[in-house]
Amino acid sequence: MKPKLAVVKMTGCAGCQMEVLRIEDKLLDLTGAVEIAYFYMATSANRHGPYDIVLVEGSVSTPRELRELKELRDGAKLLIALGDCACSGCLPSIVNWVPPEESAKVYERFLEIHSRKESFQRVSPLSAHVRVDLELRGCPPNRDAILEALKGALLGIRPFLREHPVCVECKLKENACLLVCEGRPCMGPVTAAGCGAACPSNGRVCEGCYGPMSDANASSLAEIFARRCGLSQEDIVRKFRKYAGLMPAFSKEAGGKI
């Protein structure tokens, strides 16, 4: 029997699911190997769980999602965090540093709505609540990595994902280093690869959207930002409190735990 695949959305922008749809040319091959049992954005034929392979996009930000996540985990052979929101909270994790009163102002009658639709006004990665078998980083993760993860799931192996820094891919593309040659504050040295050094290859500093690499030396880079790129302390905090400020490897430079 084909393993059942579910693509589930929590608090996120659907970009990761769009990236899943971007494996379109392999999608038909994929349906030969797995049964797409749940994928609300793409189909109205959605079956009840449990599912074997679960891809979860988005972070956890409501009690309803937390309940759903635990249920999915219980039934899943493989729970894969799809993208930064699920792995680290992504950009919306910045809200965790905003006092709840401030974010409540977004809704005039917040409490009234709250009684029916609850929100933690905080986001947290899946791993804060359940065991996650594989994390596909990136905002969004590259479709190749998604395919590798699915192949790995079918073969019963751990796929090769690039946990080394963006600089490796950047150098293999023979880019002139923006940090060293131009003194620009590039997050490449502390950011996990996988994007193919998308930003530096396009003349732009890495903003860190793949989160910390396996051995991120955030304090050294922060020091380089201050010394070589002339960044203020506030700017440095903003750099690290961005896609993955909640991650332990960045939390000090992101202005401390919250």
Partner: protein, 280 residues
């Protein structure tokens, strides 16, 4: 001249597997008779690269072989991608093999000398052919003393062969485990392998030590043996390092100027002393 691609492996067939411990199996693998490279004589302590196409490749030692039947055995602990893919492949299925590579145990140097074997856990696998070679060529070697330790009695490899090892003339087998689960019968030592050291009868002069196990175990064992008077050049260790090529190109297994794949995996301690990233 057409150069041979050293990374091309030969197709071999799994003939059978025996369970050693809950996560270790010994596989009998037959190689093609007309094999290009696999027919080169194997030496105990050498290794081969085994791969499952589409999954990857990894280094493993021989634990036995039979040139007549064109079969060898390898004893593998299931720990990751390649090893679990091998485990999932049943009898009659294909795997890909290249080698043998590296410098094995000093069987020549050991001729006429006493042999002391010190093994920990899966480290017994590359030492098993030494025992067999001594048994087959009994008169070429002196005494044979085997010290073997594992986590629990269940984790000892080749337990079904212990009696035949003991029956090798002049051979001694001393066992120890870190702990014994309740209800298990066990009349041997309890403690790390070095706790067996005061029972060693092998004299430091005119003997060769062959050791394989976790690096931390080897560190303390070497210390103990040196203190007992064994000479650094007589203590041989088999090292494990990350290997991607097996042919001294990928660089992963380097220890200072040494390539474990080419200069080892077996080294006399005298060659290793003072090198970086060793004996954790």
């Amino acid at each position: 001249m057409r150069l041979e691609n050293p990374y091309l492996a030969e197709e071999c067939v799994i003939k059978g597997s025996r369970r050693q411990t809950p996560d270790v199996y010994t596989y009998a693998i037959s190689y093609p008779r007309g094999s290009r490279r696999l027919r080169t004589p194997f030496m105990p302590g050498q290794f081969i690269m085994i791969s499952v196409l589409g999954i990857g490749e990894a280094p493993f030692s021989f634990s036995a072989w039979d040139d007549e039947k064109a079969i060898f055995e390898t004893t593998i602990r299931t720990v990751g991608n390649v090893t679990s893919a091998i485990m999932r492949r049943g009898e009659g299925q294909r795997i890909w093999v290249r080698g043998p590579y590296g410098r094995g145990w000093p069987m020549e140097e050991a001729r006429g000398k006493d042999i002391l074997i010190v093994a920990g856990g899966i480290g017994m696998a590359p030492l098993r052919p030494v025992i067999e070679m001594v048994a087959r060529n009994r008169r070429s070697y002196g005494g044979l003393e085997i010290l073997y330790g594992a986590k629990t009695p269940e984790d000892l490899l080749f337990a079904d062969e212990f009696d035949s090892w003991r029956s090798i003339p002049g051979a001694e087998l001393l066992l120890t485990v870190d702990s014994v689960p309740r209800g298990t019968k066990w009349d041997h030592g309890v403690g790390v392998v070095t706790t067996l050291f005061d029972k060693i009868r092998t004299e430091p002069n005119d003997s060769i030590v062959m050791m394989c196990g976790p690096e931390i175990m080897m560190k303390f064992a070497v210390k103990g043996l040196l203190a007992m008077g064994f000479r650094p050049e007589d203590i041989y260790l088999s090292l494990e390092r990350r290997m991607e090529c097996g042919v001294a190109q990928c660089g992963h297994c380097q220890i200072g100027p040494k390539f474990v794949c080419k200069d080892g995996p077996v080294f006399p301690y005298s060659e290793l002393r003072g090198l970086p990233d060793l004996l954790a």
